[in-house]
Amino acid sequence: MRNRVWRWTGGLVALVIAVVIFLVPFVFMVFTAGKTQQEASALQFSWPTEWAFFDNLMTVLSTRDFLIVRAFFNSTVLTIGAVAIMVVLGAMVGYVLQRRRSRWNPLINFFVLAGLIIPPAVVPTIWVLQGLGLFKTLVGLIAVHVAFGLSFCILLFRAFVAGIPRELDEAAIIDGAGPVKLFFRVVFPLLRSVIITVVVVQAVFVFNDFTYALYFLPGDQNATVQLTTYNYTSQAVSAWNLLFMNVLLITIPPLIMYIFFQRQIVAGMTSGAVKG
């Protein structure tokens, strides 16, 4: 009896808290994004009297020569590039680090931990990027994300490799596989579930990143969506409908990721998550 009361009252209390505190702000955003400029400027929490959703969407997309479309393209290239490199290189390190006992391991483990905890020194990083001719380029930002994100990947991969039986390696070696073939043909495919986790978690992180883009890829021409949206705030102060449409647009990719990969995101966040 007590349990049933709890099941309902507790559940309802939780539901109300969640909806009022966590869902309502997003609802406000969607409503405002669908209003006409005049109505949106009242900033009221109300159902739009006249839906201008599609018009707003078109206006936002075409503003300043389709800047946001270009930004979406940049963000996509950035996310795919950085995550792909991170996953392959992180898996290689995590695998050897787990399999091979050597006197270098403590040092490498320390570096991995440091990479996770120590905040990057931004201006000297710009200096290095400039020396390499990669400052203000998408390639430079991809490299930066790889460098800063590797630690997290390595930790997850190392933990996962521990669960793959060594007998498999030995069987492959007896069959004549070299180290490269052993890793890419035998081990890497076995990492599939952890790879999905890493890809999803890092993709959300890289796509949402604002700080590194602000430092290493400033300007409007090749900016990412986060940066473009932010720059938009200084120009479109009175057009709340357009601003919120913009925010809505950049929130959609992570939302889609979440809907499709909820379990992987949750698993990845809880297992190795020591990331700020």
Binding site: R7, P119, V204, M269, A273, V274
Partner: protein
């Protein structure tokens, strides 16, 4: 015989890590002692650090960093634990509620910042309009120097508490049911069960939440930048925003000194704390 686990597998990752993380980090110790324009470097000793701890706005950023980090991580532990307990018990709509609370973790920080800047607008914002309707005068949120930092901290908690909740839920699921059954047989009250079983066995989860939110809180930048830009005045500046402002103003040496201060602070808090928390975990 050659090992099937070649050391050169470390190499490609190492190249990225060393050139873009290790070298800049080490170089920052040198550059923090210089007046630097990216082209010219002039050694000036510890002047940057002296200046850093003498200028009131910079000192305030330093102090704010701690306030921000401790407020956000404290709140995330307490609220995350409460929500975790609530959402791991048998209640209706559990899955939906969990999803709703977790989604802000994944949403764009800049987007969330812009959203709350509007929602909490002291003059036309819906939150203050709602408070007024209830007869409560709404505070100035991010325009009032007294509340700006805490307002941003509140939004940070809003955005991040879902992750804390999730980690606590994962920790609770891992506790063997036998403990609870034994406690029930012994006639322990639910409060006692919580204090003597759940809480101690949640230690690893608590450690993760504390470390994660402290690291995040000490380094926090984007949310502050989106909502207040450190203002009004310097009242909501933190180390990371001070570093960006000095960089923007062209004081690269001073900016780098701020960066060094930031990672000394982070390392000095996180390394001993994680060692202590892990040791505590081993004992129980």
């Amino acid at each position: 015989m050659k090992s099937p686990y070649p050391t050169w597998f470390f190499l490609p990752a190492g190249v990225f890590y060393v050139t873009l993380f290790l070298v800049p980090t080490v170089a920052s110790f040198w550059f923090s002692l210089t007046r630097w324009t990216l082209f010219d470097v002039e050694f000036i000793g510890i002047d940057n650090y002296v200046r850093f701890f003498q200028e009131p706005p910079l000192v305030q950023g330093f102090v704010n960093t701690f306030i921000y980090a401790f407020v956000t991580s404290g709140a995330k532990v307490v609220l995350g634990l409460l929500l975790g307990v609530l959402l791991s018990s048998q209640i209706i709509g559990r899955g939906f509620t969990r999803s709703v609370i977790f989604f802000p973790v994944l949403a764009s920080t800049i987007g969330v910042g812009i959203m709350f800047k509007v929602l909490l607008d002291p003059f036309d914002g819906p939150v203050n309009a709602g408070l007024e309707a209830l007869g409560i005068p709404g505070p100035g949120w991010w325009t009032d120097p007294a509340t700006a930092l805490l307002t941003v901290a509140m939004v940070d908690i809003w955005k991040g508490v879902g992750l804390a909740t999730l980690i606590f839920i994962a920790g609770m699921v891992a506790i063997p049911q036998e403990y609870y059954e034994a406690a029930k047989v012994d006639g322990a009250s639910s409060a006692k069960t919580f204090w003597n079983i759940t809480l101690p066995l949640l230690q690893p989860a608590t450690a993760t939440v504390v470390l994660l939110s402290l690291i995040g809180g000490l380094r926090s930048f984007d949310l502050i930048w989106a909502i207040t830009k450190g203002g009004p005045g310097f009242t909501s500046d933190v180390l990371a925003s001070v570093v960006y402002k000095q960089y923007q103003a062209g004081f690269f040496g001073l900016s780098t000194a701020g960066n060094v201060v930031l990672f000394v602070v982070v390392a000095a808090i996180i390394f001993p704390l994680s060692w202590w928390l892990n040791r505590k975990g081993d004992e129980s």
